[in-house]
């Protein structure tokens, strides 16, 4: 195993996330691939980070590890100063609910629910406020993504761009300190892609959230505070 590279830090705001020497293997037997080879990274609140690289270089795998959706085979992950890489599923789940918001390439809305209910879903689990307050907050978030008028529509009654905007509102529902976005504009046309990216970054900046996004789009990467190119499982 290679030694972990020196941690590159973009010092602005409070440290939200840190990973050191992350390794991850995928597959089994002869098909086992060393996807991440000792990746280290830091993210601070109020900063937008872009991870770029060719397909299969390990960008999404890294994002899922940082989002505690997957467990590393080696290395450490700290969320808001808490070491999470060795913690159990329950603790990682709780950390995801409280500190991390996700936006995926495909919106992953729950289509049987309205836009409002989708945004309220993480809040209901966290149960930090009364339902009325949750509803008001969800409304406000949908307003901020320009969908206040469509809050009662089911996921199936919204366009692709609108669905992705609902997904952004949902990701922000619990005021997470970290927002992880996996190709959030990858499935949208140019106009919608620009709108979604602008929304994502402006809302996150306003709230002092660390945004880490994986993208193939160089234009979007250029607009981020820091771009980290990746190749063959390491930052280059």
């Amino acid at each position: 195993m290679k030694p972990a590279p020196a941690v590159v830090s973009s010092v602005r705001g409070e440290l939200a996330l840190r990973c050191t020497g992350l390794h991850r293997y995928l597959g089994q037997g002869e098909g086992r691939v060393h996807v991440l080879k000792g990746v280290s990274f830091e993210a601070r609140r109020g900063q937008i980070y872009a991870i770029v690289g060719p397909s299969g270089c390990g960008k999404s795998t890294l994002l899922y590890l940082l989002g505690l959706l997957d467990q590393p085979d080696g290395g450490q992950i700290e969320i808001n100063g808490h070491l999470m890489s060795n913690s159990d599923d329950l603790a990682r789940t709780a950390a995801r609910g409280a500190h991390i918001g996700f936006v995926f390439q495909f919106h992953f809305l729950m289509l049987e629910f309205t836009a409002l209910e989708n945004v309220m879903m993480p809040m209901r689990k966290l149960a930090k406020m009364p339902v009325g307050e949750m509803e008001a907050r969800a409304h406000a978030l949908l307003e901020s993504v320009g969908l206040g008028a469509k809050s009662r529509r089911l996921g199936t009654q919204l366009s692709g761009g609108e669905q992705q905007r609902v997904a952004i509102a949902r990701a922000l529902a619990n005021e997470p300190s970290i927002l992880l976005a996996d190709e959030p504009t990858g499935n949208l046309d140019v106009k919608n892609a620009g709108m979604v990216f602008d929304l994502l970054t402006s809302l996150a900046k306003d709230r002092g959230q660390a945004v880490i996004l994986v993208t193939h789009n160089p234009e979007i990467a250029q607009q981020c505070d820091l771009t980290r190119p990746m190749r063959d499982g390491v930052f280059v």
């Binding site: 995928l26 999404s60 795998t61 899922y64 989002g67 959706l69 997957d70 599923d89 329950l90 789940t93 709780a94 995801r96 609910g97 409280a98 991390i100 996700f102 995926f104 495909f106 992953f108 729950m110 289509l111 049987e112 629910f113 879903m121 993480p122 209901r124 689990k125 966290l126 949902r170 619990n174 996996d182």
Partner: protein
């Protein structure tokens, strides 16, 4: 409404056809369970009621005498060893009144009646038939049987006031072409005596109705030449289900052979038990189908909702939340299915109870016999809960085990 229940409800209603299939199977499972239980236990309960009404809960029959083996020491010695070797039964009951007075001390005993039985031949103007006479003290016997309720022609008052009166079974009366007030001759031990029909009864138990003739005990004693004793003592209990325990106690106290109805009617009861087990197996298959339908529906929903499961997990929903969401779905189907199934079962039971089914053998009925018991409903719902919930656990746990990273990456197994 909890978030998990809300999600469960939406997941379920999104798969209306599959949900309706599971619901229908649950309704059928619960409903048919109730109907089957109501019909099988209906006939069994009716049979028990009939035989308790005729023969009482307990019979004291034969005296038990221990047989002893004795060994004596050499002559001149008083030393003797006696060893119990076995038991011998002496037919009949000696001094029945003394035994009745002892029996009456038992709290669960409602009544006791001494009965003298003998084989006779009956001759009417038309024909002759073998029969059995039962000498009874009417008032005692009415306390241990439902004879009064079974009178179809004539009256017990006439029997009370007439020493030569007789109560004749419906089938026997028809065979001899006897009506109320008509006389017949009873032959026994070379002697004949004339009696008349005071009343005709019909218990519905064909073996009884075709052979039994009730006479006054004193007349029967004279006819059968048994001035003392009785063939058996018939006992009725307040709680017939406690008959085996009471019988054992009585046997120990009286040193008589005492048979509870459960032993006496063992053959029929075993047949009913076999029927009940057979129907229970059938019913279990219905419920199993309901649980398989639920399993199928949930497995389908798990397959279709993997992405939703992943997004829920990414939002902080725990594995147990995912399990709960799927168990709630089973719970919703169960709750609605159990309620509708109980209504369906009650409706079908009511309808079956009106189906014409003339039976006259071990009991008499004109329609299908059904039993209404809350226990059937509780058992049906409990069986459905256990089977459906167990079947639902598999897909629910599978859903909870899904790794969100694998789903999003598209490598979920």
């Amino acid at each position: 409404m909890s978030p998990n229940l809300r999600i469960a409800y939406r997941f379920l209603t999104a798969k209306k056809r599959a949900m309706l299939m599971s619901l229908s199977c649950t309704i059928l499972g619960v409903g048919l369970f109730i109907v089957t239980q109501a019909t099988t236990s209906g006939f069994e309960a009716f049979f028990i009621e009939t035989i308790l009404g005729i023969n009482g809960a307990i019979r004291i029959e034969d005296k038990i005498q221990d047989t002893m083996r004795s060994m004596e020491a050499a002559s001149g010695s008083d030393f003797q060893v006696r060893q119990r070797e076995g038991q011998k039964y002496i037919e009949g009951v000696e001094e029945p009144q003394q035994i009745i007075s002892v029996v009456s001390e038992f709290a669960n005993v409602r009544g006791a009646s001494a009965v003298l039985r003998g084989n006779v031949q009956l001759t009417s103007s038309f024909t002759t038939k073998d029969a059995q006479v039962f000498g009874i003290n009417l008032e005692d016997h009415l306390r241990v049987s439902n004879l009064a309720e079974k009178i179809t022609n004539g009256s017990l008052d006439e029997f009370r006031g007439s020493p030569s009166g007789a109560l004749v079974g419906r089938v026997l009366a028809d065979y001899l072409q006897l009506g109320v007030g008509e006389s017949f001759v009873v032959f026994s031990r070379g002697e004949s005596r004339r009696f008349h029909v005071s009343a005709i009864y019909e218990t519905g138990y064909r073996d009884v109705d075709k052979a039994n003739v009730y006479l006054h005990l004193s007349e029967a004693r004279s006819l059968l030449r048994k001035p003392t004793g009785a063939t058996f003592i018939q006992i009725s209990l307040y709680d017939s289900n406690r008959a085996p325990g009471e019988a054992a106690h009585l046997e120990e106290v009286l040193h008589y052979s005492v048979k509870p109805w459960q032993v006496r009617e063992q053959t029929w009861l075993t047949a009913f038990r076999a029927l009940r087990i057979s129907s229970a197996i059938t019913v279990t298959v219905f419920t199993l189908i309901a649980s398989l339908a639920m399993f199928n529906t949930l497995a389908m929903i798990v397959l279709e909702k993997t992405k939703d499961i992943a997004i829920l997990r990414s939002m902080g929903y725990e594995r147990r939340d995912i399990t709960q969401i799927f168990m709630w779905q089973a719970g919703i189907v169960l709750a609605i299915g159990a309620a509708l199934g109980a209504l369906f079962g009650a409706g079908v039971t009511w309808a079956v109870g009106r189906v014409p089914l003339p039976i006259n053998g071990i009991f008499k009925t004109e329609t299908f016999v059904v039993a209404w018991s809350a226990r059937h409903y509780v058992e049906a719902v409990a069986t459905a809960i256990v089977m459906v919930m167990v079947a639902s656990l598999v897909p629910a746990r599978r859903a909870a085990r899904l790794e969100p990273g694998d789903i999003i990456r598209g490598t979920a197994q």
